[in-house]
Symmetry: C2
């Protein structure tokens, strides 16, 4: 195939061709990689426009022998989808990548369910269609080489894949899946939670916005495009999320106590 | 005096020379106005460095016959301070301005306590030492000409004062005090509340910050410099603040219900 001719190009299959899968596909295609896609819904039209070959059948996709499979499904459906893929139709040397916003969970799923001859790279691009709409420069890309065979071809395939992000200017951060989840619960999960609380408030622009308020409006815009499934996945599949939600709850309660405690003090003095 | 010679320059007394009073003084001095200050604490050294004449006695300040008095005290101490000023030492034609972050409250205080021959201008610069550190261009300045006498000299004095902000590039927004408080509770008060909740969480920069998370870190920086008195003033003296706090509370509760409701659904199906 044309892929194996040009040494820097990969044949990449995207599994889960929703919001984020399509977003990644654009850049993969732009960089000249051959991109295939498979999803539950029928995305043939979208795929055609993007220059991606669409498969509505997983067996057909796997028979194409992609070198890399990128799992872009929702966190919640990951286990079901991994279990449903016909691994036996793939080449024994295949690189499995995921881009889930939690990392320990897919790492464990991959190690548990993938045949031992597959390579495993767990990644998290710390951006999406909204925050990455003007390019990926300086945006963080987290990766953990969970299991990459030592043969030259396997090492170089993994590096070629990572290079897609490096070329776009991403800040490449190698980090264990556990460490990722620890940092992400205290930052990304809190950010999404704040964005969703504010979205519920239905904030509107006023004639007298402060800079701080415009910051809040941006935050809502940044998180509102993501599915609730994604947010729920962050909550359910990051072991540290619950603790962070509790901390947020306590912080809000303690602020209210400060306000009302002082209020009571004022009233008491007036009695 | 030199002020009355140069027709565009004013003799301005700042009452309450804390964080925000000093911040305003810098620009007033830069534009060539004569600036006097009076506060509870002794700020003579700071004042000297800024080119401001400092008075530790309100009678002395008022005997200087400033054309404009700018009230920069905390919202909470405003009533006490207004009642303590020796109005009889001022010229009958004096312009009283306030910069409080709530507007109906000082408006009512002024109308209730100031002699009828004083002019009244209620304002709110929608920025502070942090958000305005790189200049005031495009930042909103809200004002309400509550009571400006019709004589040419009174009209022009008020305009000269407003011009200080217009010259710096502020977006000049004329708006009633009531309308201001309505907009500000839904925007500024919510922003400060979010900033304070996040401050309590002790957010730290991580190696994998998303853009959204950096937005939160900025927000904390933007509000952390303000005194709790200021925030408490927003809460106590804006009639709309309590309702906004309740809305925020409900939004957070409803998000938690969504998370836990789904969680219960998952568990129930597994039983
Ligand atoms: N959005 C972002 O900014 C972002 C950034 C970094 C990483 N990620 C990660 O990328 C992945 C995809 O995110 P997303 O933004 O596209 O939204 P999402 O709601 O997390 O996932 C949507 C994808 O999951 C598939 N899916 C959902 N439920 C399914 C089911 N029951 N069976 C089969 N497929 C199912 C959808 O397929 P169909 O459309 O065919 O139904 C679609 O491809 C997630 O793991 C997310 O954490 C997202
Ligand atoms: N900071 C901002 O970004 C900002 C922006 C727009 C408007 N404002 C408004 O500007 C005003 C001043 O704000 P700020 O940031 O400087 O902080 P603040 O904590 O709201 O007010 C501090 C000022 O109030 C005086 N004060 C406090 N309690 C007093 C008392 N019991 N007796 C006498 N004076 C007392 C302080 O005088 P001493 O220092 O002498 O004790 C100081 O001058 C507030 O009304 C605020 O709403 C602030």
């Amino acid at each position: 195939s044309s892929c194996s001719d040009d040494s820097s190009k990969l044949k990449i299959a995207i599994v889960g061709f929703g919001n984020f899968g399509q977003f990644l596909a654009k850049t993969f295609v732009q960089q000249g990689h051959t991109v295939l896609a498979y999803s539950r819904a029928n995305y043939s039209d979208v795929a055609q426009k993007l220059g991606v070959s669409y498969f509505s059948n997983a067996d057909d996709l796997c028979e194409q022998h992609p070198e890399v499979i990128v799992l872009c499904t929702s966190i919640l459906s990951t286990e079901k989808i991994i279990k449903s893929l016909p691994f036996q139709r793939l080449k024994r040397s295949t690189l499995f990548v995921d881009v889930l916003s939690v990392k320990e969970f897919p790492r464990n799923m991959f190690l548990q369910h993938l045949p031992p001859h597959f390579d495993i790279l767990c990644t998290h691009p710390m951006f999406g269609p909204e925050s990455g709409k003007n390019g990926w420069n300086q945006l963080a890309f987290v990766f953990d080489k969970v299991r990459i065979g030592s043969e030259g071809s396997r090492v170089s395939r993994c590096n070629k894949f990572l290079d897609i992000f490096a070329r776009e200017g991403c800040r490449m951060v190698e980090m264990s899946c556990a460490e990722h989840d620890w940092h992400a619960a205290g930052s990304q999960f809190i950010t999404h939670t704040m964005g969703r609380v504010l979205e519920k408030l239905g904030l509107e622009s006023t004639p007298i916005n402060t800079k701080g308020y415009e910051t809040l409006l941006n935050l809502v815009e940044n998180t509102a495009g993501d599915s609730f499934d994604l947010y729920y996945g962050l909550f359910m599949y990051n072991v540290n999320a619950m603790e962070q939600l509790e901390r947020l709850d306590l912080a809000f309660e303690s602020l209210k106590d400060q306000l009302f405690g002082r209020l009571h003090g004022v009233l008491r003095r007036q009695l």
